[in-house]
């Protein structure tokens, strides 16, 4: 088990938002968490990576307890996050944003291998290369989202957490991102994906959880969940039905 | 509004009873200064706490109010209330000049611009010897009189000052509880948002500057007639910073905080005076501790009771 969450309760302003949640992600797996707005998905992700420190329960990564660690320490152990709302460094250039993504790799790895990752990210999002010198805050919404994803990839994490990565992306790019996530996964990166675009989320993951008002209410293979009538009604649109049927 | 009124009645009731219980002119005198500073902070907290605009030049408007009314009454024999009005007029004019170009500035840049204004006023007070008396200052400013009642004792001045504090508090409260107050509070967000909702951001920023300048200038005139002597050393950047400290220590964006902060920081030096060389150590430590343990200011000690704003 790469990531194991036991009985996690997490608070915002002393209000419990995530309530005794337990789940796990195996090494090399890709897992989705679905759920309506306000279910507490972001809160769950943020308490795993240590942004939220007001919590009880246990989070284990690679067998070690990381519940009480700071996010910078957790990140060093190989978890990366594409945060909801992008959280880019708006007054730094696009390139600096990406380089900072590889902050933990500096000193450990050669400059060349970092540059290589940079080129990979540019390959994935050519627009970022074009905008290399621009201040990140002046990018368009979708470009910022690409930057946030690219920045997380720069760290070459073992476990990649994605909080609504497709938000604000054009259909073409969205498709591209999901297929590259699939590829990354094939290369061995473990994924934990929070996504409103349930169709894609279920297509590229192996397992999924459904979250409602702070609790995990359903767990299963992604394919099976995709067939669950309740899920279809609540999370999957008409578009999906058309496609799935096709 | 109801809830605040209850607090108001209790607070001002106690204040107005004070001189009758404690007859010491010393304490009454200190309370007069508390009142004078409160008037400034009640205005400044509108500008800083609600409209989110910083000013490190408030001592400048305080000085303009004090000097204008001081000079006009002493040199030209004008009645004090005319002097006060003239001070208010000049302050409003100056703050308009400062506010219009400052609309483009934010944060530290705005702080610098307002600080620059305050310093310019200070330099002029020092250098324009013929009119201001220069660094040596000038004295013998006549006392105020009110409805034929000469305000030359600490006690009478106390009631006069705190009467105004009460009125100014009510004005600020009414402002905040009106559409104007809401609009001012909306300035806290990125400018483009209120703009897109039809809020004339420029008007409200200028308005907040004028409001704060009005209060400061009025307080300055009171100060002049209470002290009866003025010199530039009372109107330095240190005072501007002190005023900001008062509203932050008291609780930013809260009228009670403005009152409380002004009170605490007026009394603290009185208490600490005996410590002399250690005073600075204690004072500095006090500020640090308040900010560490009560980052929202002293008013956060009593939640619930405090209303107005967030």
């Amino acid at each position: 088990m790469l990531l194991e969450v036991k009985n996690l309760t997490a608070y915002r302003d002393s209000i419990p938002i995530v309530r005794s949640v337990s789940f796990h992600v195996n090494e090399g797996e890709s897992v989705a968490i679905l759920g309506a707005n306000g279910a507490g998905k972001t809160t769950l992700i943020e308490s795993i990576i240590g942004i939220i420190s007001e919590k009880t329960g246990e989070v284990r990564f690679k067998g070690k307890d990381i519940t009480r660690l700071n996010s910078e320490e957790i990140v060093k152990r190989g978890i990366s996050l594409v945060p909801q709302g992008r959280e880019i460094f708006s007054t730094l250039s696009v390139k600096d944003n990406l380089l900072l993504g590889a902050y933990t790799r500096f000193g450990r790895e050669s400059m060349a291998s970092i540059k290589e990752t940079l080129e990979e990210v540019y390959g994935l999002f050519p627009i970022l290369k074009e905008r290399e010198k621009q201040l990140a805050g002046t990018l368009s919404g979708g470009e910022q989202q690409m930057l946030a994803i690219g920045r997380a990839l720069m760290a070459k994490p073992t476990l990649l957490l994605l909080d609504e990565p497709s938000l604000g992306l054009a259909p073409q790019i969205r498709a591209k991102i999901f297929s590259s996530l699939e590829e990354l996964h094939k290369k061995g990166i473990t994924l934990l994906l929070v996504e409103q675009n349930t169709f894609y989320a279920l297509r590229i993951t192996e397992r999924a959880y459904v979250m409602e008002t702070g609790r995990l209410v359903m767990e299963g293979k992604s394919e099976e969940i995709a067939k669950d009538p309740e899920v279809i009604r609540a999370y999957l649109g008409r578009e999906y039905r058309e496609k799935w049927e096709r | 509004m109801r809830k605040e009124l209850k607090g108001l009645v209790i607070f001002f009731g106690l204040i107005f009873l004070f001189p009758l219980l404690v007859k010491s002119p010393y304490y009454i005198g200190v309370l007069v200064f508390w009142g004078i500073y409160s008037i400034i902070t009640l205005g400044l907290t509108i500008l800083m706490g609600y409209a989110g605009q910083i000013s490190l030049g408030q001592a400048g408007f305080f000085a303009v109010g004090a000097y204008t009314s001081g000079i006009l009454t002493t040199r030209f024999g004008l009645p004090p209330w005319l002097g006060i009005l003239a001070g208010l007029g000049l302050s409003l004019l100056l703050s308009l000049f400062l506010a219009l170009p400052s609309l483009k500035l934010k944060g530290h840049y705005l702080a610098m611009a307002t600080l620059g204004f305050g310093e310019i006023v200070h330099v002029v007070l020092n250098a324009w010897v013929g009119v201001t008396g220069g660094p040596s200052g000038f004295g013998e400013i006549p006392a105020l009189s009110f409805l034929g009642w000469k305000l030359d004792s600490e006690m009478s001045f106390f009631y006069f000052t705190w009467g105004w504090v009460f009125l100014f508090f009510l004005f600020s409260l009414s402002l905040l509880k009106s559409p104007y107050g809401r609009a001012l509070r909306s300035l806290h967000a990125e400018e483009r948002i209120p703009l897109s909702l039809g809020v004339n951001v420029y008007f409200y920023k200028v308005f907040a500057f004028l409001w704060a300048a009005f209060y400061a200038s009025f307080a300055g005139s009171l100060y002049a007639h209470f002290m009866t002597f003025l010199s530039p050393s009372s109107f330095t950047l240190i005072l501007s910073i002190l005023l900001v400290l008062m509203i932050v220590v008291g609780g930013l964006g809260n009228l009670w905080g403005a009152l409380l902060g002004a009170g605490i920081l007026t009394f603290l030096p009185e208490i600490l005076r005996t410590f002399e060389d250690f005073e600075m150590l204690i004072y500095g430590t006090f500020l640090i501790l308040v900010m560490i343990f009560l980052p929202k200011g002293l008013v956060s000690l009593r939640r619930g009771k405090v209303a107005t704003g967030d």
Binding site: - | S136, G139, M227, R273, E276
Partner: protein, 360 residues
């Protein structure tokens, strides 16, 4: 000590803040004297207590402090404040409450016009200016440049320098000022230099007193430099370094006490104060401490003679004659609440890093 069994005297000095170079020696002096009197059994067996309040040189603070001393501590008289501005700010209060106040600040405005309850011990800065001008006249200096700090002290000096020049046939060809935080007065000095004066007068407090001579030296200006009596502390000579050599300034005799002839009436007082202060505080005396010394004894002498009565103390001080203090020999009268004249000053100069009397 039971209440009432002591004589309380208030003191308000700028112990901290920008004018602390005044307030600090003043405070040390009165504390030293208080102890001395009490160790000798007080006044007629009753100890005195000097309540020192720090004003930070700030007027609001001073007003509060004086009100406190008068109405809460009920002091018999007040020594200080240190600065002219703060003194002027408290005059209305002492006049109203009828408490004698002996200020340690120099401005003439404090005692002119005479205020019933207000006295002062420092030599009036006007006399300091006159002393300089007398000397200049003697030396045939007719065209001078003045440079003053924009503090109360500097401004008073400038006022007198400008006003008295015609009386001595002196023309002021350049009139420059600088702010207390300035680090370099070269621009002002250049303007003065361009007017070719025969001498320069610099009227300010530290550190301007040290920076101006240095800048002059850097600019190669070799004309004589006169400074105010505020230069009266050997520390400032050190701060100015070599550039201090040859600076001429008027001062009370405290700084050159050991150089006075034994017959000089002030010699004994001066030497005694100097010895006690320097052995106790391990630092050189300054004239400012001397002002507090004089103020203290004026009040205490009155207290000894007439007892604890504010009005009587005031009357006694007003009629004090031939009081030998550190600042000179005081002769008070209802028309003169300073009691000193121009003879209180000597002209001094710096030679080999030390103060010496300036011969003719």
């Amino acid at each position: 000590l039971i209440f009432g069994a002591e004589y309380r005297i208030g003191a308000v000095f700028a112990v901290t803040g920008p004018a602390s170079w005044l307030g600090d020696p003043e405070k040390k002096t009165v504390e030293m004297l208080e102890e001395e009197i009490n160790s000798q059994g007080g006044i007629n067996g009753i100890p005195i207590r000097v309540i020192v309040e720090d004003t930070k040189g700030d007027e609001t603070q001073t007003v509060n402090a004086v009100r406190k001393l008068i109405t809460r501590d009920r002091v018999l008289a007040i020594i200080g404040p240190s600065r002219s501005g703060t003194t002027l700010a408290v005059i209305p209060i002492v006049e109203k409450y009828k408490v004698p106040l002996v200020s340690c600040a120099a401005a003439e405005a404090i005692v002119k016009p005479v205020k019933k309850w207000v006295f002062k011990t420092p030599q009036t800065d006007r006399f300091a200016v006159e002393k300089i001008y007398q000397y200049m006249k003697k030396k045939g200096i007719k065209r001078i440049g003045i440079i003053t700090g924009t503090t109360g002290f500097g401004a008073q000096g400038r006022k007198h320098l400008l006003a008295l020049a015609p009386k001595y046939g002196i023309e002021i060809v350049a009139d420059e000022t600088y702010a207390p935080q300035d680090t370099d007065m070269t621009p002002q000095l250049l303007r003065i230099k361009a007017k070719n004066p025969q001498a320069i007068v610099n009227w300010s407090i530290v550190p301007g007193q040290a920076i101006v001579p240095r800048n002059m030296k850097e600019l190669g200006m070799n004309i004589p430099l006169f400074q105010s009596h505020g230069f009266g502390n050997i520390k400032y000579v050190k701060a100015a370094g070599e550039a201090a050599e040859g600076i001429i300034f008027p001062a009370g005799r405290l700084l050159v006490a050991d150089l006075l002839p034994d017959t000089h009436p002030q010699k004994k007082v001066l030497m005694e104060y100097k010895r006690k202060y320097e052995s106790r505080y391990q630092e050189p005396v300054s004239t400012f401490g001397g002002h507090a010394y004089d103020a203290f004894w004026l009040i205490v002498n009155a207290l000894k003679a007439v007892g604890p009565d504010r009005a009587k103390i005031r009357d006694y001080i007003e009629n004090t004659k031939n009081f030998v203090g550190t600042g000179g020999i005081f002769n008070f009268s209802p028309e003169d609440h300073n009691g000193l004249d121009i003879e209180a000053f000597e002209m001094l100069t710096v030679k080999n890093g030390k103060f010496t009397l300036l011969g003719d």
